[in-house]
């Protein structure tokens, strides 16, 4: 089930659906069509029974070096409001399966925001994150001020957003923006291993864990606890729960079906 896209490339390996941003000649600068394509690929993977984890990467030297500036340079505020392009980003945030980012080189501006949409990020040691929007007299518009702040807290977020300063892979690891760092030569291999590992877990558990964790970012503790509890109860209506617990008792490996 591979569709033809203009700016991205999709493939799959086992239960992992892979989306590669594919405009290496412009360091994968994000244009509007590309975001529509990313969303479309993610939504197809989300509905594909065979896919359990989505891996998002960039072809070439960079993950994504920002948005396509030419495309928006002459837009007015009202053009933006009418177009409502950021609703696509809300739909990316609603993807139920885990999204794992593999980031090498630049993840700047919209590219950084896309990385922040991932549930986990593996980075190459040459990865550089940053929000240079301030240098252009604008600001992030696809979640940059919100997701970065939720992730690292107000003080560092302000600093990085005010200055546009680049964040090295080491800093990104320190502040919890990325999970692990690898040499760029083996980034894809290692990210695929991690994705395959998650894809081997019970798919329903993974999806409901993702939903619950995202809830925690967004709501009060009390509400989150109730939400978590409901999802916990829900899993006890699944075949995988019975399989997982029987396998544990019988000292064998479980076989999860996602049912």
């Amino acid at each position: 089930m591979s569709r033809i896209y203009e700016y991205i490339h999709t493939s799959s390996e086992g239960h992992v659906g892979i989306i590669s941003l594919n405009r290496p000649e412009v360091l994968n600068a994000l244009n509007r069509t590309m975001i529509v394509e990313i969303l479309s690929a993610m939504e197809s993977f989300d509905q594909d029974e065979n896919i359990r984890v989505i891996l998002l990467s960039g072809n070439g030297r960079a993950f994504a070096a920002g948005a396509d500036i030419q495309e928006m340079a002459n837009d007015s505020a009202i053009d933006f409001e009418l177009l409502d392009q950021f609703k696509n980003w809300d739909r990316i945030a609603a993807i139920k399966k885990p999204i794992i980012g593999a980031v090498q080189g630049f993840a700047l501006g919209g590219g950084f925001e896309l990385a922040l949409c991932c549930d986990m990020v593996y980075a190459a040691d040459d990865a550089e994150f940053g929000f240079p929007e301030v240098d252009l007299g604008v600001m992030p518009g696809a979640g940059g001020t919100q997701r970065l702040t939720k992730l690292v807290g107000k003080t560092k977020a302000m600093e990085w957003l005010f200055t546009g300063k680049r964040i090295t892979s080491g800093e990104a690891l320190h502040y919890g923006i990325v999970n692990r760092i690898f040499a760029k030569e083996i980034l894809m291999e290692e990210t695929l291993k991690a994705a395959a590992k998650i894809a081997s877990q019970a798919p329903l558990s993974i999806r409901l864990i993702k939903e619950s964790v995202l809830k925690a970012v967004d709501t009060t503790l009390n509400e989150g606890m109730h939400f978590e509890r409901k999802n916990f109860y829900l899993l006890f209506s699944s075949e995988d729960q019975k399989e997982g617990m029987s396998a544990f008792r019988e000292k064998r490996k479980p076989e999860f079906k996602g049912k």
């Binding site: 690898f182 040499a183 030569e185 083996i186 291999e189």
Partner: protein, 257 residues
């Protein structure tokens, strides 16, 4: 192409020669920039597999050109804008970098030599931590590299006392990899560099990277880095060539990939 340096590639070795001999190759802002640019060029150039930094004339590099220093100068900003990016360019360079020290390396000139992977000295060469003599502090990575090369106690002595270190003293301290007689020095440097340029360049790059990172990480993290580096090296054609040559009892020919 450059105002203050010469750049030439001979037998896969990029020779970068500081070229202000009448000033003992003292740093100007332009030289900081030229050096950074040329190291970047050599790092990216596919044909280059080793880099040699040396000085034209009697000196290697006598440090900052004091003619350019005035009372209004913000020394910190000069370092941030000019020296630090130059040192970082060397630090991040994946290819072996030799400081071919032909004469005096003083102040930031010594820092430059310390930032390189190898120091091959002419017997006429010397190091001077000149900073203290004008009431300043060794900079441009000097205090970072020096104790790692010669230990804390000696580093402190050199940095504070500022006494001249001769080529032979430098060799005893572990500051020089080799010291050669003046008349042989250039040929010896060339053959050392060409030998490095014929080695498995990808493996050299991984060795440099992991050795440097070993300064600030735990054994556990270092073991993981070994595993990652070995996976990468294991995929190179130079590894296959090395193994094949060993089996076939011949000399390996490495392509640097």
């Amino acid at each position: 192409m450059y105002e203050t340096i010469k750049y030439e590639v001979i037998n896969r070795v990029a020779w970068i020669t500081l070229n202000r001999p009448d000033k003992l190759n003292a740093f100007t802002a332009q030289m900081n920039k030229d050096l950074k640019q040329s190291i970047k060029l050599a790092s990216r150039s596919m044909e280059v597999r080793c880099i040699v930094l040396t000085g034209e004339g009697r000196g290697f590099c006598s440090g900052q050109d004091l003619a350019g220093v005035n009372e209004d100068m913000d020394h910190g900003e000069v370092l941030r804008a000019l020296y630090n990016p130059m040192i970082m360019e060397i630090h991040q360079c994946e290819k072996p970098v030799i400081a071919a020290v032909n004469g005096v390396a003083a102040g930031a000139g010594m820092s430059l030599a310390l930032a390189c992977d190898f120091r091959l000295l002419s017997e006429r060469a010397s190091f001077v931590e000149a900073f203290i003599h004008v009431g300043l502090v060794p900079d441009a990575g000097n205090l970072y590299y020096l104790p790692k090369l010669i230990g804390h106690a000696k580093a402190l002595e050199l940095a504070i006392m500022g006494e001249k270190v001769s080529a032979f003293q430098a060799e005893e301290l572990g500051l020089a990899n080799k010291v050669y007689p003046e008349e042989l020095w250039r040929d010896e440097v060339a053959s050392y560099a060409e030998r490095l340029a014929s080695m498995p360049t990808a493996a050299i790059s991984l060795i440099k990277k992991n050795l440097k990172s070993s300064w600030n990480i735990t054994l556990e993290d270092s073991l993981e880095k070994d595993a990652q580096a070995q996976r990468i090296a294991g995929l190179t054609s130079d590894h296959k060539e090395g193994v094949n040559a060993f089996i076939e009892k011949r000399k390996p020919v490495f392509q640097g990939r």
